[in-house]
């Protein structure tokens, strides 16, 4: 496990709480999917909780993230409201997107979440663009861009990391190597051992770390953010983790063995963190259990409340496409030299 450094017990427990919250949220989401209450497939984050939580624990609401099709974990780690998330999964008008987006499309600017994205690699240029904005503003805030091993084979990955490097943007790229892109093992989709080695193409640091160790992620993010603050630009972090669930709920999983999955179940980030909290931080099982109970309660209540919410009315369909207000800018005169070059 990583160094807990300056993390207080309260903070550690808060991390634990978030990880548990994600796990329980996903388990409930699967129940909803089974019952046909979500419309389409849900891509769950089970087994990867440490990455989102460790990373987002370094961020304030004014720091931004971009997320993926497998975005519930990032969303929750960034502080999203569960009821509004469940409502979105169930296509309710109280959902984050008023039922217009769905599981793959939750954004929440209040918590700095610039959005999940159904296009693999689609969020990478967007995150990079947000970092350009922060850089021009000379803000001390940063962007964390989450994506998968599969996404690292997209052209958008290459273009974005290169741009971030030459402009020394305040951004951290976190590649969650959960070993699969749908059915394709990463070793079948690329001919390298560590995706973090791709950082060399851009002259930026790249590290592979244990993605199932929440404290290690937290520490790695801390370092990367320091680099951002020092104006040194982006870092690529490969989080070594595993997609314990199928690609989506309902996946036949004909491309891997039960054994392989079981090996990784042994490395479950929550179980490991529990052990660590108990052994290294003398936190009692009761403390952990009561968090579990509270979170279970929160998840179930949120889900049930959301389920009772209304579907949007058909008349809502045409709203929200265009902003109707123009910005309030007064143009100042400026006559250019007109010496075309």
């Amino acid at each position: 496990m990583g160094q807990k450094k300056n993390l207080s017990e309260e903070q550690l427990l808060d991390m634990y709480r978030k990880m548990v919250r994600i796990r329980l949220f996903e388990e409930e989401a699967i129940e909803l999917a089974k019952a046909g209450k979500t419309r389409a497939v849900v891509h769950t984050y089970v087994g990867q909780e440490a990455t989102a939580v460790g990373a987002c624990f370094q961020l304030s609401n004014k720091d931004y993230i971009t997320s993926t099709h497998r975005g519930h974990g990032h969303c929750i780690a960034k502080g999203a409201d569960l009821r509004r998330m469940f409502a979105e999964l169930m296509g309710k008008e109280t959902g984050y997107c008023k039922g217009k987006g769905g599981s793959m499309h939750i954004a929440d600017l209040d918590t700095g979440n610039l959005g999940a994205n159904g296009i693999v690699g689609g969020g990478i240029p967007i995150a990079t663009g947000a970092a350009v904005g922060l850089s021009i503003r000379k803000s001390k805030n940063v962007v964390v861009c989450f994506f998968g091993d599969g996404a690292s084979n997209q052209g958008s990955f290459h273009e974005s990391l290169n741009l971030a490097s030459i402009w020394k943007l305040p951004i951290v790229y976190i590649c969650e190597n959960n070993k699969y892109g749908i059915s394709t093992h990463f070793s079948q989709a690329m001919n390298i051992e560590h995706i973090s080695d791709r950082a060399k193409s851009y002259g930026i640091p790249g590290h592979t770390i244990d993605g199932n160790d929440v404290v290690q992620i937290y520490d790695a993010l801390g370092e990367a953010i320091e680099r951002c603050h020092a104006g040194e630009g982006p870092t690529l972090i490969e989080a070594d983790t595993y997609r314990v669930s199928g690609h989506y709920f309902g996946d036949n999983e004909n491309y891997r063995t039960r054994e392989e999955v079981n090996v990784w179940r042994q490395k479950d980030p929550i179980t490991r963190f529990e052990a660590y909290l108990k052994q290294q931080c003398s936190i009692s099982q009761e403390a952990l259990s009561s968090i579990l109970v509270e979170e279970k309660e929160l998840v179930i209540t949120s889900s049930q409340t959301a389920e009772k919410d209304s579907e949007p009315k058909a008349s809502e369909m045409m709203n929200d496409l265009y902003a109707t207000q123009f910005a309030d800018i007064t143009w100042k005169p400026f006559v250019s030299t007109h010496k075309e070059r």
């Binding site: 979500t38 419309r39 389409a40 979105e88 296509g91 309710k92 008008e93 959902g95 997107c97 039922g99 217009k100 987006g101 769905g102 599981s103 793959m104 499309h105 994205n117 159904g118 296009i119 693999v120 690699g121 689609g122 599969g150 996404a151 084979n153 997209q154 052209g155 958008s156 892109g181 749908i182 059915s183 394709t184 079948q188 989709a189 690329m190 004909n254 491309y255 579907e311 949007p312 009315k313 058909a314 809502e316 369909m317 045409m318 929200d320 496409l321």
Partner: protein, 330 residues
């Protein structure tokens, strides 16, 4: 005759193609053992091996590039794009390469390849996995666009498209995959042409892909009210079989155009423009276009079903068309 699903028919066409010609191969994401996100390529890798049935990384620009480069040197690749929405990440290889190379190089190269992909809303896949983007492709000279509405057509048109020496985008509507119809076991081809699915004398509905079924259902419903609708399934948008359309309008003098794609700038606009140009004097009422409203595909069931053109909208458009001319004549 046996009935099989459109998915099975496509799989069968792929098997026929692979066993008939060695230059045919397929590339795409998760298409081998997993059978593809479209789940049409099952068994292929077992029967023809991993040299010819190739799982790719998530790299759509390169994937479509395989179609361009391999076809130019005499292979006949089939490229599977898991969703037509991924034209986004691969568009240059379609717009500026596949569609242009033959002409730009003075007719000195052929590009015999097929991009198979799925389109369409209705399954709650959200704004980035539910689009109907055929109008983008139909605007670009140099590519064929095929959109079957059933298993029988899919098998015959796919084999025809594979023999075509031009790039073809073959678009399968995801809501049709499980629909069954009678399909002969032997290989056959269908030429690029439209088909009159249901003859009628009062109003012509011009449509294609999944909306054919909506049109037919509307036609059935309208029969009970004594209205006799002709339904044309275009099957192929490029080349367009305009003669079949005009012949029908000459008979009915009323046209309703129906597609799931956005109405604005959709292929229906082109159809309307051509019909009014060719059959101006024959039209008794304005051509009515039915398409999706001007918003991305919404997720929630309530919104998505309001979004997709419904049988009711078709029924009332047909009536509106007839009422317009009736009023004028009265």
């Amino acid at each position: 005759m046996r009935k099989i699903t459109m998915r099975q028919a496509i799989n069968e066409a792929l098997h026929i193609a692979f066993s008939s010609d060695d230059t045919i191969f397929i590339v795409g994401e998760d298409i081998a053992k997993y059978g593809g996100q479209l789940r049409c390529s099952y068994d292929l890798v077992n029967n023809f091996g991993s040299e010819r049935v190739r799982d790719t990384p998530i790299s759509e620009m390169a994937i479509v590039g395989v179609g361009n480069g391999a076809s130019m040197i005499g292979m006949r690749p089939i490229v599977e794009l898991s969703y037509i929405d991924f034209l986004g990440t691969s568009f240059d290889q379609v717009l500026n390469q596949a569609a242009k190379m033959r002409y730009m190089y003075g007719g000195r190269v052929n590009l015999p390849f097929v991009i198979r992909t799925q389109c369409g809303a209705g399954l709650g896949n959200g704004a980035q996995h539910s689009q109907s983007l055929e109008a983008l492709l139909c605007h670009i000279p140099g590519i064929r666009v095929v959109m079957p509405s059933n298993a029988y057509d899919a098998k015959g048109l796919l084999l025809h498209a594979i023999r075509d020496n031009n790039p073809v985008v073959f678009i399968e509507h995801k809501a049709l995959y499980k629909k069954k119809c009678e399909v002969p076991e032997e290989p056959y081809e269908l030429e690029y042409s439209a088909v009159v699915k249901r003859p009628g004398k009062d109003v012509t509905i011009v449509t294609y892909s999944a909306m054919v079924h909506t049109a037919l259902a509307a036609a059935d419903q309208l029969t009970t009210e004594g209205i006799d609708v002709e339904v044309i399934d275009l099957r192929v948008l490029e080349p367009l079989d305009i003669n079949t359309i005009i012949a029908s309008i000459q008979k009915t003098s009323h046209a309703v155009i129906l597609h799931e794609a956005w109405k604005k700038g959709g292929f229906g606009a082109e159809l309307a423009a051509q019909i009014q140009a060719e059959a101006f004097d024959r039209l008794s009422s304005p051509i009515i276009r039915i398409g999706a409203p001007n918003v991305p595909v919404p997720y929630s069931a309530a919104l998505e079903s309001a979004y997709i053109p419904s049988i009711e909208r078709v029924v009332s458009a047909v009536k509106e068309s007839l009422e317009y001319s009736a009023k004028k004549n009265s």
